[in-house]
């Protein structure tokens, strides 16, 4: 049982935090919200995949990526391509000059399905593409950068430029990719209507389970020696090298893993929202993913999820009533997080949360033992 606690959830505190989150997204939201709003939450939870990936990569690993949108987009587009092909069956597209191909291709006078679209007729291949293509892409970028010891600001800018390259490419090649409007009008998945409420509900739960699974997998990484190495590399990369580790390999791995996670989010986005466009690939969405992690807590997997939900709820709420105020608020939040609470809300909770939980005495028994190492030194000392 201790294996379960430690390796998969962190410790008692981690387990409680996880259960609360799971209860919130699996029970509370579905019960309290109507279908429309639940779908919105589902959408936000897909962004959370990218935020969680940044906790691993940036919070623990110290490598800032301003291009997680790249991988979110690759996953999303792969799924969209599959769904679009299905929606573009010869019967559905009978009125086009060339039936059997997506509508935007027809509008651009394309008469034949491009080669790279063809494998997406298969659902298995699509799943493979969602998981493997972004990972390989990240591996290539990571290997090229990290083996040459490029990091920090340079790496961040290059990820940003790659996201721009991808965006411009997608927008420019509208015959092949749907251009700036993206791939829309998706209808069925293997014959089953994805626009229905019941389908969206099912996708919501699948999304939640996948997210929780990702959190567990990430926790496993963080509680292993790898996790401690991430922290060590973040603070003293050279020393880690001189302890016998090939630092580049670790960075490449975590970057590729982060890419895969983000791609899963992208694919779930397409399924739940019914379209994918380049507006989720470029500079702005990528940096928003960073802010989700920063506000929620860049060192907290669960905090990142809450950060994502909070910011997105806020954006929706403010956009309706005070749209001008929202950008000021976002800008201010960026600055405030960096200057005053770098560990986000999770960090604030760690530092000050006990003021609240103090009132509920019985909870303290859970939190006492796992609090400060200073305390436990005294306990150890007393026992040994």
């Amino acid at each position: 049982m201790s294996f379960v606690y430690e390796k998969l959830f962190g410790d008692k505190k981690g387990l409680i935090g996880f259960c609360i989150l799971a209860a919130l997204i699996l029970v509370v939201f579905p019960v309290m919200l109507d279908s429309f709003r639940l779908n919105l939450v589902g959408k936000y939870l897909t962004y959370a995949f990218a935020a969680v990936s940044l906790v691993l990569l940036w919070g623990y690993g110290g490598t800032l990526s301003l291009g997680q949108g790249i991988f979110f987009g690759i996953g999303g587009y792969a799924m969209a391509m599959f769904l679009k092909l299905e929606a573009s069956s010869p019967e559905n597209t009978a009125i086009q000059s060339t039936p059997g191909i997506p509508d935007f291709m027809d509008w651009n006078q394309i008469t034949e399905l491009p080669l790279f679209w063809m494998p997406f007729h298969s659902f298995t291949f699509t799943l493979f593409a969602v998981l493997v293509v972004p990972t390989i892409f990240a591996y290539i970028i990571g290997a090229a950068m990290f083996k040459r010891r490029v990091g920090g600001v340079y790496f961040a800018i290059i990820t940003q430029v790659v996201s721009v390259i991808l965006t411009v490419l997608i927008v420019g090649q509208q015959g092949l990719t749907g251009g700036i409007n993206g791939i829309t009008d998706l209808r069925t998945l293997n014959g089953w209507d994805i626009t229905s409420d019941s389908a969206k509900n099912l996708f919501y739960f699948i999304n939640c389970f996948l997210l929780l699974a990702v959190i567990i997998a990430s926790r496993f990484i963080l509680t292993s020696k790898f996790g401690r190495l991430l922290l060590a590399m973040r603070d003293k990369e050279d020393r880690v090298r001189f302890s016998g580790y090939d630092v580049a390999n670790f960075k490449i791995f975590i970057f590729s893993f982060a890419a895969m996670i983000s791609a899963i989010g992208g694919a779930m986005f397409t399924l739940q929202v019914g379209f994918m466009s380049p507006s989720f690939v470029g500079i702005v969405p990528s940096i928003e993913m960073v802010i989700f992690a920063a506000i929620g807590g860049r060192m907290s997997l669960i905090g990142a999820v809450y950060g994502t939900l909070l910011i997105n709820f806020g954006k929706t709420a403010f956009s309706e009533s005070f749209p001008e105020l929202w950008l000021f608020l976002m800008g201010g939040l960026f600055i405030a997080v960096v200057m005053f609470f770098p560990n986000g809300l999770a960090g604030l909770w760690e530092d000050y949360g006990h003021h609240i939980t103090k009132r509920f005495g019985f909870i303290n028994k859970f939190f006492d033992k796992s609090k400060n190492t200073a305390d436990s030194v005294e306990l150890e000392g007393a026992n040994s």
Binding site: L64, I157, V164, I165, I283, E324, F328, V338
Partner: protein, 307 residues
Amino acid sequence: MGGYSYDELGAIFAMQGFAGISLFSVLLLMALGLAIIFGQMGVINMAHGEFMAAGAYTTYLISSLTETYIPAFMPYYFVFSIAAAFLVAGTLGYLAEFILIRHLYKRPLDTLLATWGLSLIMQQSYRSIFGAREVSPTLPEWLMGSVKPTEMIDIPINGMFVLGLTIFTTLAVFYLMFKSSWGLRVRATTQNRVMAGAVGINTKKIDRYTFALGCGIAGMAGAAFTTIASTGPTTGTLYIVDTFMVVVFGGAASLFGTIASAFSIAQAQSILEFFISGSMAKVFTLLTLVIILMFKPEGLFASKVRR
């Protein structure tokens, strides 16, 4: 090649080359400012584009005011507004450094994020003050029109003006950085902050003025920019990625590198644009840059620094 005669090809290269020169000028001005800030202080200013926009908006403001109140001054206001753009952007930069940046010098990644926040705030301010629609100053007569050295080559005057301004600014920066005592102090601070402080250089003030200078130059880029296109709240974001690439590609610490880098990138893109579509030209240029950077991460024109 492509069905054009040599004469025509020559003219195309000349004109695309010159279109590239305008782009080059704006890029170089922006990159100069950013290179000074990044190269000297290791700070990445994601709001750099917004300082450029500040200069552009200042020019627009002065244009409107002159038009309304002192119409006789119209032919002269533009040069005056370039100086004003420098001062306004520079002052904003000074304030930004004082309030925000100076707390974050040891944390470059966090500076990146904080300045992005600043850029959001600035963009929204522009939207609130000037509106979401794009605006343009009324350009004076002498900037309009073009010069035709040959039948087929048509060189716009505003392009030449911007180029002239860029050359002047680059020389001024070079003089300032390498020939003046202030520049010496800045370089000393960059190379060895502790020692510089020990010999009595007020490193904090140097940082503040350096940042302000970088932003001021961006403001001038903004003023120059108004001769090419109109200005909106998000204009700053148009060139920021290209500017970063120029700086990173050129090797941030090298003035010559920045110039060479801006020139090659602008030219490559313009000339390519004629033969393949605009978007593919950009993709191709950026992709080449990224690949080159993967082999030479310190930039193509970087000077050797002992690790």
